[in-house]
């Protein structure tokens, strides 16, 4: 059991789901500040539901969620976000009809937008040339990079990222991995990455947890040599 | 206390007793269905005041056949459905002896079948498009035949050859302009256009565009009262159209409230406040005295109401009873001296009227240009005598 009261994210006995369907059951997780946790598992095992529940998009049937020791279980999404949580949804995470800049501005609440842009430059400089371009016209990979850049630019203390690698080219995935690590290096950002892309997950994460039918089936450290195999037996056929 | 004082008190109490004695004896009830709400609610108050004045004067002179006259006012919401409720209320619940009504045509039509069931005398006191006939009904206000001639004749004298007619698309608008057109052409004028806008129209852009296109010598309008009439005038002025402008639907009050925009409009009617007759002067004095600051300026619609109640009194006294069978024919034979002159509803249930042509001045007052004595209503209800 976690004794770290100041855990950046602390989820206790969380159950949630849609219209009577319990998708996430009694989940316990805690991430230390600056730690990166990869939540793995097959489709329909409740990974995305977990994030939505933490953000407050879905009703919590039981359990509690706290950030850095402060309770947020009953808060609405925008309140949670304002406490420094950056959420990157799997689908429809960008305003397609808005420009790159507008997408950034919406997320960035701190006054000095310049600093935010500097952060973007550090991670994905090409975006600075595309500020006036409509986000919808970016390629799939570019959109994912914009998503990453946006969540980092907000200076969020905790990032909840849902399958950022889905359908991406290896090169892009490597690039994202690099950005995530360097961001953690520089700002000590805590992250929860929901992933199906095992190599990526194990490359960037400190530790991992596998969700199976909405329950935490197994957890471990990314550094452990057999991590890959242990995860894999949950992952595929 | 002084003798005089006690004397006055005594007289006063006597008066009270007399009054109560009168009240105790059975009364004659006159029903007033009127548009307290809806389109007519603007003029309704003045109509009610005129009725109250008439009744006061009658009762002050001992009522009708010694019976006290009582008013029952009911809201007809200026429409058919409301009128049905109002007439049911007055005829079957309040059991009125007669109905004197200033209403929209729709309300009147909705009421008539109920009047037929109730079988009571009915006097309609609003000007209208004409040719509404019912065995129980009399009308003492003007119809197109009486209203149109003064304006058209005057415009002809001014050398107007081409006319443009604008109306709201409803019974009165169409009725008035249909007659106007006929009359103009009969008198050698030419109607270069006639346009009808929806009854609630507040945008006259298209119509005015046409007016400007044909640029007539004179315009004659007959819109629904209130908003449409006003918006038309305002937009007409705004569009910079400055030809002769006769308005068949505007009453003195509205004209006054329109201010500068109304200046120069020609209006014809059977009543204006500044008609210079003793009867009118004493009438105005009486309402002024009775209502003081609350007075709603008497007008084309309230004065006939006043006269109609007097006419009913005369008819009942002539018939010596309130029975409809006797009173209804009597209504055709009596005549009353009112602010509009001598009114007798002797022509097929309608009344020959003295009509006036007036023009609105800058200050909103109406100056009477000329008058036309006893203009005949023409063939309205040939089937009824």
């Amino acid at each position: 059991m976690s004794t770290m009261l100041e855990a950046a994210l602390n989820v206790r006995g969380l159950s949630s789901g849609y219209a009577g369907a319990v998708v996430v059951r009694e989940v316990n997780l805690s991430i230390a500040p600056g730690e990166i946790l990869a939540v793995l598992g097959k489709n329909g095992m409740g990974k995305s539901t977990l994030l939505k529940a933490v953000m407050g998009f879905l009703p919590k049937m039981s359990g509690s969620v706290s950030l850095g020791g402060s309770e947020v279980t009953r808060l609405s999404p925008h309140r949670v976000a304002r406490l420094g949580v950056g959420y990157v949804a799997q689908e429809k995470a960008l305003f397609q009809d808005m420009t790159v800049e507008e997408n950034l501005r919406l997320a960035v609440r701190r006054p000095d937008f310049e600093a935010a842009l500097a952060e973007v430059e550090a991670s994905f400089p090409f975006l600075l040339q595309r500020l006036k371009q409509r986000a919808g016209t970016l390629s799939g990979g570019e959109q994912k990079m914009l998503l990453m850049a946006r969540s980092l630019a907000t200076g969020a203390k905790l990032l909840l990222v849902d399958e950022i690698t889905e359908g991406l080219q290896p090169s892009v995935i490597d690039r994202l991995a690099g950005v995530i690590r360097s961001a953690r290096e520089r700002h000590g950002t805590t992250m929860l990455l929901v992933e199906q892309h095992l190599p990526f997950a194990l490359a960037v994460a400190d530790c991992w947890a596998v969700l199976d039918r909405g329950e935490v089936a197994e957890t471990g450290m990314a550094s452990e040599p057999d991590a890959g195999r242990r995860v894999l037996k949950h992952m595929s056929v | 206390m002084s003798r005089i004082a006690s004397l006055t008190v005594g007289v006063f109490t006597l008066g009270l007793l007399a009054g109560s004695a009168l009240a105790a004896g059975d009364t004659i009830t006159i029903g007033i269905p009127v548009g307290l709400s809806g389109a007519n609610s603007v003029v309704a108050p003045s109509v009610v005041q005129a009725s109250e004045l008439a009744v006061d004067e009658i009762n002050a002179k001992g009522g009708i056949l010694g019976k006290k006259v009582v008013l029952e006012v009911a809201d007809d919401a200026s429409g058919a459905a409301g009128a049905q409720k109002a007439y049911d209320l007055l005829i079957f619940k309040k059991k009125v002896d007669a109905i004197v009504a200033m209403e929209t045509s729709a309300a009147r039509n909705a009421g008539l079948p109920i009047v037929n069931r109730g079988k009571i005398p009915y006097i309609y006191t609003s000007f209208y498009e004409g040719r509404s006939c019912n065995p129980y009904m009399y009308i003492n206000a003007w119809v197109p035949e009486q209203q149109v001639a003064p304006i058209v004749d005057y415009f002809n004298k001014q050398g107007a050859k081409t006319f443009f007619l604008i109306g709201s698309d409803y019974a009165f608008g169409r009725g008035m302009l249909a007659f106007t057109k006929e009359y103009i052409e009969k008198n050698g004028g030419k109607v270069v256009g006639d346009e009808y806008a929806p009854m609630d129209a507040t945008d006259w852009t298209a119509v005015l565009a046409k007016v400007k296109a044909v640029n007539p010598d004179a315009i004659i309008t007959s819109t629904a009262g209130g908003a449409p009439n006003v918006t038309l005038t305002k937009q007409l002025r705004a569009a910079g159209i400055k030809v002769l402008y006769g308005n068949l639907a505007v009453d003195e009050g509205t004209a006054r409230s329109m201010g500068a925009d109304a200046e120069g409009i020609y209006i014809a009617g059977s009543y204006f406040t500044n008609i210079d007759t003793p009867a009118n002067k004493s009438f105005l004095a009486a309402v002024e005295k009775k209502f003081g600051n609350d007075l709603k300026t008497p007008n084309e619609l309230s004065v006939p109401q006043y006269e109609a109640i007097l006419a009913y009194k005369a008819a009942v006294e002539k018939a010596g009873t309130t029975e409809a069978v006797k009173v209804v024919p009597a209504l055709a034979e009596v005549s009353v001296e009112g602010p509009r002159g001598t009114i007798a509803m002797s022509k097929q249930r309608h009344a020959p009227l003295t009509m006036y042509l007036g023009q609105v001045k800058a200050d909103g007052s109406v100056s009477i240009i000329s008058s036309f004595k006893d203009v005949d209503p023409g063939e309205q209800c040939p089937k009824l005598k």
Partner: protein, 617 residues
């Protein structure tokens, strides 16, 4: 309570109401009789508003037009052709015919496949505006603003008219009541609740809506016809938007979806307004406005239910609504099964199917066939296009290219309900049932396509095809027949939806993640059922499933979709063996699964992945 008792009870109440109508004129003064005669007719129109809005979910502002239609037919005929027995019939015919025609046009406009509820309301809002304008421009023919009056009509006493209007209202209300409580009537609620599900149960909801709309139009027209005959006057305001909304207001105040509420709402408000509006015209309308807003916001069910609830709460003497539907299930014997005959060739043939959203291609060049008795599993990561493919098979309008043949019939561009008729049955991912209806009612609606529901009776027994019965029995749904669906557990809902789809007697069954969010035992049940369906019943099942263990247990054949294309079509073993599939699952594009062989970032990753840290479980 037996069906006969139920109906005779309704009949008894109706008779009581008729008696009340009969004695009315003797107890009421002439004035009230006069006013109420009209109110009774208005109430009949309010009733139609309730049928459309309260039950079918169509908020209509235009019922006034149909009322006016009947009224003007009488007014016009009696004015321009004089009154006579035959002309009275002509007028009646014109009124009803006119109403039907108008309603048909409006229906065609408003209830087309996929029209939104808002759009339907908009059309009913435009209707009275147009109608009133036409009446105004009718000149002397329609009497314009003055309307028509002074025409002669049926020579009846005021009392007779009261009786006529009263019995008309009672009869209409009774019929409506019997109808909405009947099996057919329940369809209205079903459509309001979940129109999509209805379509996928093979019901042509657009047609149903139009039919109900037509009937309501006729009732309103009849009321209008009586009105004109009684009042001997017709005016444009009868058709107006204002009267239209007044009807809605009465319905809302009385209580939408209660039938009696709107009737009393109309009677009381209209009668009272006759009394009070005279004294304080504006205040009265103000009060109505305030109460209306209050009811809409605070008591959307209207006042009648509130009034009934108070004593129920206080004393509990009005026993709560008797547990609905004492329906007994039975197995449909094979003779009566009406499923489509298995056509020659494969049960399902998909060729060159593609689906594009603008430039984005979700499905491309999908080709496969499936035989009867075959259970084909569709697997693949998110966004592979599995659900989209299901949709394309169940709705002809969905796909962008290619052809789909079911039982030898090309589905062409047919809407869902027509595809169902060809033998397609679709179960959605999220359990998709009629939340407020009971299990039994849901099942009855699922059978409606085969067993035409009665317009006045409630079926007491419900024969279901063997497959459906099997599901119900194994899951124990039969013990919860009277339970409203929204009270069921997620698993039970899934089972209910499955049995509803099976009640359609489909040949091709499309199942989208039927086990999502189910417990292990529930999944096992579903699994065995599916096996039974394919092996014994010879259905062709197409199953979207993420749980490959589950797939392995039940499936004879697996199709792997990835990024809109079929990457593999073979046996479970093929799939398990396939490197490609492993890649598809373990990480799009990347070679290697175990992290030893994983991305070059690995090394640096070790650098950042610090020493032991507690991971709570």
């Amino acid at each position: 309570m037996t069906e006969a008792r139920r109906l005779s009870l309704i009949l008894l109440v109706a008779l009581a109401a008729l008696v009340a109508v009969a004695v009315g004129p003797f107890l009421l003064d002439t004035y009230s009789v006069n006013v109420l005669t009209r109110s009774l007719l208005y109430a009949a129109v309010a009733l139609t508003v309730d049928l459309l809005w309260g039950f079918l979910g169509i908020l209509t502002f235009g019922q006034s037009v149909f009322f006016a239609c009947g009224a003007y037919a009488a007014g016009l005929v009696f004015t321009h052709m004089d009154f006579s027995g035959s002309n009275a019939l002509v007028a009646l015919g014109l009124g009803v015919g006119g109403a039907l025609l108008t309603a048909a046009i409006v229906g065609w406009l408003a209830f087309w496949h996929g029209a939104s509820a808002l759009y339907a309301s908009v059309i009913t809002l435009v209707l009275p505006i147009v109608a009133t304008q036409l009446l105004y421009s009718g000149g002397t023919f329609t009497g314009s603003s003055s309307g028509l009056s002074g025409f002669t009509s049926f020579d009846l006493s005021v009392e007779a008219w009261f009786w006529l209007a009263g019995s008309f209202l009672v009869v209409v209300t009774t019929l409506a009541f019997v109808f909405v409580k009947s099996d057919a009537g329940r369809l209205l609620v079903a459509i309001r609740e979940n129109e999509q599900r209805c379509k996928y149960l093979g019901l042509d909801t657009s047609r149903l809506k139009i039919v109900v709309y037509l009937v309501c139009a006729v009732v309103a027209a009849l009321a209008g016809y009586l009105y004109a005959g009684y009042a001997m006057v017709v005016a444009p305001e009868l058709a107006s938007f204002v009267f239209g909304t007044e009807l809605v207001i009465w319905t809302a105040l009385g209580g939408r979806g209660t039938l009696l509420g709107p009737v009393f709402g109309a009677l009381i408000v209209d009668y009272e307004s006759a009394q009070l509006s005279g004294s304080y015209p504006f205040v009265w309308q103000l009060i109505i406005g305030v109460v209306f807003v209050l009811v809409i916001v605070a008591f959307p069910r209207g006042l009648l239910p509130v009034v009934f609830d108070i004593p129920r709460r206080l004393l509990g003497w009005l026993r709560p609504r008797a547990a609905r539907a004492a329906v007994t299930l039975s197995t449909l014997d094979l003779a009566e099964t009406q499923g489509v005959e298995p056509g020659n060739g494969p049960a399902l043939a998909v060729s060159g199917v593609a689906k594009r959203f603008g430039s984005l291609t979700v499905l491309d060049a999908i080709d496969f066939e499936a035989r009867a008795g075959e259970l084909v599993s569709l697997v693949g990561p998110n966004g592979a296009g599995k659900t989209t493919l299901m949709r394309c098979i169940a709705d002809g309008a969905e796909r962008s290219a290619g052809a789909i043949v079911v039982n030898g019939y090309d589905i062409g561009r047919k809407p869902p309900e027509a595809c169902v008729a060809l033998g397609v049955g679709r179960k959605f991912q999220m359990a998709n049932v009629f939340e407020t209806l009971t299990v039994a009612e849901c099942l009855q609606i699922a059978r409606a396509r085969h067993a035409r529901p009665s317009l006045w009776r409630r079926a007491r027994d419900l024969p279901l095809p063997k497959a459906a019965m099997h599901v119900i029995a194994t899951t124990g749904l039969d013990r919860q027949l009277a339970t409203p669906a929204h009270l069921l557990s997620h698993g039970m809902k899934q089972a209910l939806e499955l049995s509803m789809v099976l009640a359609l007697e489909p040949r091709v069954l499309l199942l989208d993640e039927p086990t999502a969010g189910l417990t292990k035992t529930e999944r096992m049940q579903i699994g065995s059922i599916l096996i039974d369906l394919t092996r014994k019943q010879g259905l062709c099942v197409l199953l979207v499933e993420h749980d490959l263990d589950f797939v392995r247990e039940i499936s004879s054949r697996v199709i792997v979709l990835h990024q809109g294309r079929i990457v593999l079509d073979g046996s479970v073993e093929d799939v398990v063996a396939s490197e490609l599939v492993k890649q598809v699952y373990a990480g799009s594009g990347h070679a290697g699964i175990a992290h030893e062989t994983a991305s070059p970032d690995r090394g640096s990753a070790e650098a950042v992945s610090s020493a032991k840290r507690e991971m709570p479980v």
